[in-house]
Symmetry: C2
Subunit: 176 residues, 2 copies
């Protein structure tokens, strides 16, 4: 894993990929699948996300105020769906899906080695957590895997239907 | 334009497409390009978005508490970038980019006829507006254009670089 400048984090999340979110509480790690997230600020990178109270990760995120957002490429799609269809309440999902937890540097939840990018996050605002399950995270450290070149991400359209990244187009723009 | 059930709105926004946002204030309409948005709730559909104070649309959205989210397909990519690189302060963007405003039913801002889906929205929460420019919208009416079959959306990676929707994959999942 290679250091990724925080100024480039928005380029990973802005296009709307399905991601994984890891938490750790009382020595127990967990991972969930998440599609409801967005950038809030470029740098330091702020990210908003919805983690439903129905998700086992909700309590861990609120209590520990830390998580990792890991971004999977297409080859992990089947595991990503499997992770989204079971719960950490009764399943060690890292074990079940053969994912490798790796220590993060600034937070307790693990990175996911198989993902092409990992973002260590601290919870910075919970004012909308009760009403909307909405959390504001600050990305404090980011990693990318140089071995995964031009990874294609997946975008959820409901009930296991995904669109995979297609061709890239470049248009003249001054906007980041 | 055909009625779209509100229960299907999340399938349009969850995958992270670049969208347009229209506003209307004192008889003047405007349209901006937006990539920072996410679903918050399935039904009634709630959407969070970031509309920077630097955007001319910010004041109109706050004052009128209404907007339309219009979703463009790939063929509009050049216009979408152009719209993002100028301001409603000094430009009639509907005119400049040859877009057709159409009356909405429940809000004052116009639909964009060329877009394959249009979502009429009311502003329902501004608690994070001052600190993060974050707005919570409720989609009160949704439209789709039956003439645009399987539209490919575009996903921004910064500075005019976009990934176009590629192939669709279907995996077994019980989750919406």
């Amino acid at each position: 894993m290679r250091d990724l400048p925080l100024s480039k984090v928005y380029q990973l999340l802005e296009p709307g990929p399905v991601v994984l979110l890891t938490t750790a509480q009382k020595g127990r790690t967990n991972v969930m699948t998440m599609s409801w997230h967005m950038m809030v600020e470029f740098e330091p990178p702020l990210v908003a996300c919805i983690v439903s109270e129905a998700n086992y990760s909700h309590a861990a995120l609120r209590a520990t105020k830390e998580c990792v957002i890991a971004i999977p490429a297409r080859k992990l799609a089947t595991k990503v769906v499997g992770i989204g269809n079971c719960s950490g309440r009764d399943t060690d999902k890292f074990k079940k899906f053969g994912l490798t937890p790796r220590p993060a540097v600034l937070v307790a939840p693990p990175l996911v080695e198989e993902c092409f990018a990992n973002l260590e996050c601290k919870l910075v605002d919970t004012r909308l957590a009760n009403k909307f399950n909405l959390f504001i995270l600050e990305v404090v450290k980011a990693w990318s895997d140089p071995a995964q070149k031009n990874p294609k991400t997946i975008h959820h359209h409901g009930f296991g239907s995904f669109i995979v990244d297609g061709e890239q187009i470049k248009l003249k723009s001054e906007k980041p």
